[in-house]
């Protein structure tokens, strides 16, 4: 007797799969609904209060100056959109230099913490505990004042070799000028990318070959560019004017303080990540390396670190993301990063808080996701080489 349709458990709304789908659909509708409601309420309120909205401001002349610009920018001719790019590049500059510096310093200190030398191990422990237990903002203010207070006034500038100057307005170095400079910079970047590619891609070649080829890859593009463009550069020396130094490359004290602060702070966390990774490699691996006759340094480089990297990469990614986001504290010491320029001055002049904050958040999200993606790719590569 199979009169199953009459039993309650066979009705479709009692089917657990159907219920699951229904509840999920309800959830999605609610989330989308709330988002839509928020967007609509915001737009209505802005319109009712007659607050300007939209993205028309992007092409309006900015009219304010920025102290550090990696791309061409002038208060009279450039737009708010251009100011956005200036700020973004300044943020990226700090992030990239900060990440490289924090990684190098962090690895050194992480390894030093495990050193057999008592003094080295204790000193690096003290460094980590001191640095990671003080608020970053406080450290940035410390570095900024340390930089400003210890350097001489502009009229007592330190004269550096090759015509450079150092004072509390920054570091001034001779700069290459001329039409070919742009080409040369790109050629150098291409060289760096080439050298990294040689080191990373040709893993199966013996490392003597790679080490020999890497400098070639590094130097070939700039040298080629130099000769192709017929020695395109002249050198511009910084000159001491009545108030300020004119010409040359200028490194702002705000930039130095911010990158130093971020590197020091993040390196303490990186050191702990590295130490955790190194300790995670079974002791037997080190002993096996020793029994093969490898020195301690070689064992570290060839046996321990490659295995530790798999443990290190995911938390290291977190530190990179933190560093990038922390760079927005630049606002406290007057470094013109994205938050200071765009979410600060531009927001204040245009008053369009909603649009500008959304754009700024979107930018940080994209930077962070791209950093994560790059690190995940690297992580995947490490996992694959392991299986070979």
């Amino acid at each position: 007797m199979a009169a199953g349709t009459d039993r309650p458990r066979d009705r479709f709304y009692n089917n657990s799969k159907v219920r699951s789908i229904v509840w999920q659909a309800v959830l999605i509708i609610c989330v989308v609904g709330v988002a839509w409601l928020l967007a609509r309420t915001t737009a209505e309120n802005l319109a009712r209060a007659r607050i300007a909205s939209g993205f028309g401001f992007w092409n309006v002349t900015a009219g304010f100056d920025i102290s550090q610009t990696l791309i061409e920018y002038s208060a009279s001719a450039s737009t708010f959109g251009r100011a956005f790019w200036v700020g973004l590049l300044n943020t990226l500059l700090v992030a990239v230099i900060g990440i490289v510096g924090a990684t190098v310093l962090g690895f050194l200190i992480g390894i030093a913490r495990l050193s057999n030398n008592w003094l080295v191990a204790r000193l690096s422990t003290a460094y980590v505990e001191l640095v990671r237990n003080l608020p970053l903002l406080l450290q940035l203010l410390f570095w900024y004042n340390a930089v400003l207070k210890t350097l001489p006034d502009i009229r007592d500038s330190l004269h550096l070799p090759l015509g450079g100057f150092l004072n509390n307005r920054g570091l001034f170095l001779p700069a290459p000028v001329g039409e070919g400079v742009g080409v040369l910079v790109w050629a150098m970047l291409a060289g760096i990318a080439g050298a990294i590619a040689v080191l990373m891609m040709w893993r199966r070649r013996p490392h003597q070959v790679r080490l020999a080829l890497a400098p070639v890859a590094l130097l070939l593009p700039p040298v080629a560019a130099w000769f192709l463009y017929g020695e395109p550069t002249a050198v511009e020396y910084p000159e001491l004017g009545r108030f300020n130094i004119r010409g040359g490359i200028e490194v702002l004290p705000e930039f130095v303080a911010l990158t130093t602060g971020l590197i020091v702070y993040t390196s303490a966390f990186v050191a702990e990540v590295v130490r955790a990774g190194l300790t995670a490699v079974p002791k037997g691996q080190v002993e096996a390396a020793a029994s093969l006759g490898l020195r301690r340094g070689a064992a570290l480089r060839l046996i321990v670190v490659p295995q530790a990297m798999r443990v290190i990469i995911p938390p290291l990614t977190n530190q990179y993301l933190n560093l990038t986001k922390n760079s927005s504290l630049a606002v406290a010491i007057g470094y013109p990063d994205l938050v200071q320029v765009f979410a600060g001055t531009v927001l204040n002049i245009t008053g369009q808080a909603v649009e500008i904050v959304i754009i700024t958040m979107g930018v940080y999200l994209v930077i962070s996701l791209m950093t994560s993606m790059a690190m995940n790719l690297y992580d995947a590569r490490l996992a694959m080489t392991e299986r070979r």
């Binding site: 004017g241 108030f243 300020n244 600060g344």
Partner: protein, 338 residues
């Protein structure tokens, strides 16, 4: 499963709550028993908490005057310290009821921000301060100088304009708050610090050695300062505007904190209307008949507020200048109460 279900129910409940309506600002303030006032909190003379944490200053007294008019108690104000960068957002979002923070009235701020300037309570202009040691007598000699400035101000834009107009080059170093930009100037990061002239006198006192610095004679802009309110509440707009006019009118009729009780008995019809012994002009605003008496008892008249915070009664000793009453050759002029 249960998590998903309870989440959806929670979100549905939250959706129902989003529908909110706001009463008038005056009713909100009365219901709260407290006026929320945005001010700088960093600027001696205009707004700065004293050693006991009590806020003092010209901008502060404007909020106290409003509280006095509403509650007959100038202390019923909660002050919110705002940087120049955050001030408009705080008012737009309703965190504060009125922004009284040495803010320059410009056309774009009046039209694009959803805010209204109520009145000009201080006529100011932008100037420069420099170290005496660099031997500069005029702002026109500042070509190539590094100038520290507070970010998100009209000052930042005027600075660029002025140097451009005079074909000079400038290195602008912008900071988020007054204290940071001033400290950078003090440590020698910049040759000059620029802001409204009134502030230059007040920030000079914050420098390590005030006597080593001098304010240059040039005034490079018009900076009319005054309190702001949100769009869309005309009654509240009227109240803030008329509190200023009440202060100025009180000075014009020589009604002071000390003599206000005498003046209430005056036969002068203009004084009678102002102090509410004749007519119901305060009630027309949504306040009480004796609103001006309350204000003057709370903070004094415009001249008293000025002298106590900025003028001869203060360390700043700023002259009244164009902020004198119109009857004394200045620009301060208030419409009549009638």
């Amino acid at each position: 499963m249960n998590i998903v279900r309870s989440l959806s129910l929670g979100i549905a409940a939250a959706t129902a709550l989003v529908v909110t309506a706001s009463a008038g600002t005056l009713d909100d303030v009365k219901a709260r028993g407290m006026l929320n006032c945005g001010s700088s909190g960093q600027l001696p003379g205009f707004s700065l908490p004293d050693a006991q944490g009590i806020w003092m200053g010209f901008d502060v007294d404007y909020c106290r005057a409003v509280a006095a008019a509403i509650f007959n108690d100038p202390t019923k104000v909660k002050f919110v310290a705002l940087s120049s960068k955050d001030r408009f957002t705080a008012l737009q979002s309703g965190d504060i009821d009125v922004l009284s923070r040495n803010t320059t009235w410009t056309s774009s701020r009046d039209t694009q921000l959803g805010l209204n300037f109520t009145a000009i309570n201080y006529f100011d202009g932008q100037g420069f301060i420099v170290r005496k040691s660099i031997k500069v007598n005029s702002a026109l000699e500042l070509n190539d100088a590094a100038v520290c400035v507070q970010q998100g101000t009209t000052t930042e834009l005027n600075l660029t304009d002025y140097f451009r107009a005079n074909k000079m080059r400038v290195k602008v170093v912008a900071f988020a708050t007054l204290d940071e930009s001033l400290k950078a100037y003090d440590t020698g990061r910049c040759d000059s610090y620029t802001t409204d002239a009134s502030q230059l006198y007040s920030v000079r006192l914050k420098l390590a050695k005030p006597d080593d610095h001098v304010v240059l004679p040039e005034i490079i802009s018009k900076e009319p300062l005054g309190p702001l309110v949100r769009h869309g509440d005309d009654q509240w707009f009227d109240i803030i505007k008329w509190v200023h006019f009440a202060l100025v009118n009180a000075e014009e009729f020589n009604i002071t904190k000390a003599n206000v009780d005498e003046q209430v008995k005056s036969d002068n019809p203009e004084i009678k209307r102002l102090l509410g012994t004749e007519g119901n002009y305060g009630e027309q605003l949504g306040l009480t008949k004796d609103w001006v008496v309350r204000i003057v008892k709370g903070v004094g008249n415009y001249g008293e507020v000025f002298d106590r915070n900025l003028g001869q009664g203060s360390p700043l000793k700023i002259a009244r200048g164009i902020n004198a009453l119109w009857t004394k050759g200045g620009l301060q002029y208030a419409p009549p109460v009638r």
